[in-house]
Symmetry: C2
């Protein structure tokens, strides 16, 4: 399982992804699901959820390249705009689907794959997309400033209540970590370490691009403090009057 | 969609269920999903999730009766123990599955049904079961004092963090309402009114058995206060140190 969230805010982009993969509960591994591709003209971040064999192939083909409609080889480093990057990513998904979907179906499995794609190229607009397994995609907007893939439900309520387009990057990262903590507590298949990326709007250099592991004191503090705060929060609400 | 939760605590039983049903987002109705069957020797509560045509039939047959292995007609009012009531409910599910599952499958639909069954008969132990669509079931224990059916994920984190077997009935009802609120905010197919039942352990008479509608001042207060408290809670956590 996987949980990844991307938030596109006035101040910039926040992405958070876990690293746990599992083939059954008895086969758990750590794989990077949030990848960052950087050149002087661009920063492109890709987070993946679904069948790991599928998503690895999709990302590998984005790096190795796919021919466009004119027969030119395009890669994550050459596609000229983020909209075209979303289309390119969708083509990579369809390329792997064509290769693997039938065999997966025969094997009783499904072609399962979704991605968050975000970034900026040159002076163009910072954008955040979600790419579906059919290769189609949607984009985050000011109205709904975040997108999630994977095990999204446990961590959605806190985001729904607290994040708007105007939320600051620091606050959004904190809330994304709380959202990740809620998910990890309820689904063992989502786990540490966590990769985080913060990209201020207008910049091609992340202000944060690191991995949070077992011993990270801030994340540990968030986890404990959030539990306490939730307890205090529901204690502060009076008991129901019904039946009294 | 549906969200129902049952909590079996040292002090007794709490059940909360919404009433919204939908066949597509353009066809939304209100149906009671939490039903209470009471006689001088028993109180039995049944909450249902899944295909409404299926769950209505299951409950109807529990009331109208099904023959047991000796050819005797049993109903929700005659089955002598809660364990046998769980088996009886499972048989009612299988009875309807035999009648409808094939036709539903042909129609491209699925036989979808799960129930919470709780209550006490005579001086016996108060028990809480979840019955699956295959008619099998599991029981809440002191280790995991609650069971959920339907759209369970949005409302699970607050319960996971806050409810134990020792939680008081008032506190548990409050938490179940917070859990319901989280679910309603994230899934439009779960909605008011909400039916609630509280049964103190050892009693066959509920201390609370009522419906919360649009204008319930306490639930309104919970919703607003919880939003504020969550905001205060995450504001009280310092911003991430990363990148500073």
């Amino acid at each position: 399982m996987t949980y990844c969230i991307g938030l596109l805010l006035r101040q910039g982009l926040v992405m958070v992804a876990d690293t746990r993969t599992n083939a059954g509960v008895d086969n758990i591994s750590t794989f990077r699901k949030l990848q960052v591709f950087q050149r002087e003209d661009r920063l492109v971040a890709v987070a993946t959820a679904g069948n790991l064999a599928v998503t690895q192939s999709v990302v590998s083909h984005m790096v190795e390249g796919l021919e466009d409609e004119h027969g030119e080889l395009q890669t994550v480093y050459t596609v000229p705009t983020m909209l075209q990057m979303a289309e390119f990513t969708g083509r990579a998904v369809r390329f792997v689907a064509e290769r693997d979907a039938e065999a997966l179906k025969k094997d009783g499995s499904t072609f399962d794959c979704s991605l968050l794609l975000a970034g900026q190229i040159d002076e163009r607009r910072l954008r955040l997309f979600m790419i579906y397994r059919a290769g189609n995609f949607l984009e985050a907007t000011e109205d709904t400033a975040y997108l999630q893939i994977g095990e999204h439900k446990y961590g959605k309520p806190i985001i729904d209540r607290s994040v708007t387009f105007e939320t600051s990057l620091d606050e959004a990262l904190k809330l994304a970590l709380i959202s990740m903590d809620s998910t990890m507590r309820s689904n063992l298949a989502v786990g540490l370490p966590i990769d985080i990326l913060v990209l201020p709007r207008g910049s091609l250099t992340p202000s944060v691009n690191l991995r949070i592991g077992q011993d990270d004191p801030y994340f540990e503090h968030v986890r404990n403090r959030w539990s306490d705060a939730l307890r205090e929060a529901h204690m502060s609400i009076p008991n129901p009057p019904y039946g009294h």
